[in-house]
Symmetry: C2
């Protein structure tokens, strides 16, 4: 995998780059829609392409449990399995093991856990996590890591970082020794919770091992937003300038703008897709909760400034009806709209950076956000009706 | 609405025709996908068009209850509401009132019932059923009728037929007197359960009133298949030759072939869409239950002879995975395949009739069915996991 920096913003750490993979190029900064179990929920690969998604994320934990990584390997790998020909990044499974499964034991060798699907017992190690990702044939593989919850004691976080570093060494070794479907990059993950010195120490050790890219893990796991932003702002510029920088599981539109501003190249988050299924839609005028009775006879599109299929063809009234009636089409139309919002936001930022106007763009973005903040928003955190097996 | 007969089969009652409506023409014999609550479940209007659907059915009962016909009228009618520009037929609500709702009272004026959604009390009469359909702005409106269950006594069926005829008279009067969005045809519905003389008497009375088309109601409501076929075979040719003939809620692929053979022009049924959501897929080699473990690593498409999007892009293994994981994409990909099967079957029949080769086509169809009957079929009647608010 090659990474090239195309342009940098004069007044911030923001930069435009290009990732070259065996499945095509990806312009950065990029948002990766989450395709948990071999499908970006409710969307076909054609729709993802039409939305301009260039790379998606697949979840190692979910695919390992169902349908099984060996099965996917026998069927030609994840790209062929899900009929998606563009790049795929797979996470390490670490985050899901620690957030979805029931953990039985964390030990030096790995983690013993029980499946959230059927309670069956499994054991993930750095070596197995890499082997699974080789079976999936993703373009970018992540090191197996321990994701600490928030809050966590300094002592535990320090121990955990040390283990995550040892696991990263083992991941790198396993990655070098294991055959796969083709070229596959390996990224290290910086851990350390909210403790700056631990984060820095972790990064230092990972740099000694050497990876194709570096990620910041365990953000947006419950810590206050200022803490999250502070870690991202401090750590992102410290990651190697010439390699891709990836903040995992982040975040809101504002988080993406802040991430780009401090030099992050890659993001993933279930927020646009999960919120869509819960009826919470992002717009240029702030969030819209489509359940709201105010929309029952509203003939306008969700966002008059949006050019997505949903906004071109359907009214708020219809979308509200589909949501209330739990029609399957609801999940899809909402997902198309929200992913369009996220992917368009990234495209706007790439364009602004390329034009040397990112600072002005960012100021304008915040002015718009402020003007519309809280408008129409009822309950963005409300629970939906569908099973929640997507990662946070 | 105009109906034109384009060609007739020399050896049967099969014929090709063309319906002219304000929203375009429909070549018959035609299958109408069911769009219960303003959406053919899981599909976008674009996908329906791409599948070649020329006319769809909307359910008066469902749309009256949610989001409400007056609301849809204020939003410009059902076509605009759901962004479907081709013709729509709406049923009368009769069938759903008698199959889904809790009936409180059937009387001469109409039917008092409770909503299956929230238990709220409602009253449907021939006049209100017509008014609702005027609000929806469908191209074809159905008379309000009583749908008798199976079995039913001769005495009850006779009383019910007499009332259905009186309701048809009132429907016709209301239809003539009520303003709507534009030209709207009105079809009468022949009732009479499995009693030939009642069916004939009902038809005779309906002919005296005079309708734009005639439907056969209360078939496939539990009666043995030979009874169903016998009524259809006897009654269909007795319906006016120059007007569209519609068998409601029917049926299996074989039922459609038999219906066309005896001169039926229009069909609707939830079988292709509902079975799809339950993992039961129609193929040229007989039905496939995609849950079957035998497909877990099967790289072939559902039907190697099928040209639908699902079969062009995805393997049985992937479709099985999506189904087992309850991924939203599963319902859509299965629905696309099954509707393609039904719509293609109708296209084949129109083509065979036009070429004067329907008898040979039908013989060949049965030979294929027989060769593959029962193959791969595990449990086509199994319950799915989704709420079942679609009409039978």
């Amino acid at each position: 995998m090659k990474f090239e920096i195309l342009s940098t913003d004069p007044s911030s750490n923001a930069r435009c780059g290009r990732l070259y993979t065996a499945h095509g190029t990806v312009d950065t900064p990029v948002f990766m829609p989450v395709g948990t179990a071999g499908s970006v929920k409710s969307l076909s690969p054609d729709e993802l392409e039409a939305l301009g998604a260039r790379i998606i994320l697949g979840n190692t934990y979910h695919l390992y449990l169902r349908p099984g990584d060996e099965r996917i390997a026998r069927l030609g790998g994840l790209h062929r399995f899900m009929s998606w020909e563009r790049p795929i990044l797979t996470d390490s499974g670490g985050f899901q093991v620690f957030s979805l499964a029931r953990i039985n034991r964390i030990e030096e060798a790995g983690v013993q856990f029980q499946s959230h699907i059927d309670g069956s017992r499994h054991y993930l190690t750095p070596e197995t996590a890499v082997r699974i990702q080789k079976h999936l044939g993703s373009d970018i593989c992540m090191c197996f890591d321990e994701c600490t919850p928030y809050p966590v004691s300094y002592e535990y976080a320090a121990q955990s970082v040390a283990r995550t570093v040892r696991w990263a060494e083992r991941s790198a070794k396993a990655h070098a020794e294991t055959e796969g479907f083709g070229p596959q990059a390996l990224f290290g993950i910086v851990q350390g919770s909210v403790f700056s010195d631990l984060r820095e120490k972790c990064l230092e050790k990972l740099l000694e091992i050497g990876f194709d890219g570096y990620a910041i893990g365990s953000l947006s796991v419950g810590e206050p937003k200022p803490e999250m932003l502070s870690i991202m702002r401090r750590l992102a510029p410290a990651l190697p300038r010439t390699l891709p920088r990836y903040v995992m599981g982040v975040g809101t539109p504002e988080d993406l703008v802040e991430g780009v501003n401090c030099g992050v190249d890659m993001f993933d988050c279930v927020m646009p897709t999960r919120n869509a299924r819960n009826g919470m839609l992002f717009t240029s005028r702030g969030p819209v909760n489509i359940k709201n009775a105010a929309y029952a006879e509203d003939p306008d599109p969700i966002d008059p400034d949006c050019g997505c299929y949903t906004c071109r063809r359907f009214s708020r009234a219809y979308l509200r009806h589909l949501y209330i009636a739990r029609e399957l089409l609801s999940y899809r139309l909402n997902t198309i709209h929200n992913l369009h919002f996220y992917l368009d936001l990234m495209a706007q930022m790439r364009s602004a950076i390329g034009a040397g106007e990112f600072a002005a763009w960012r100021t304008n973005f915040y002015a718009r956000m402020e003007a519309f903040s809280g408008k129409n928003l009822e309950s963005p955190e409300s629970d939906g009706d569908l099973p929640r097996d997507e990662t946070v």
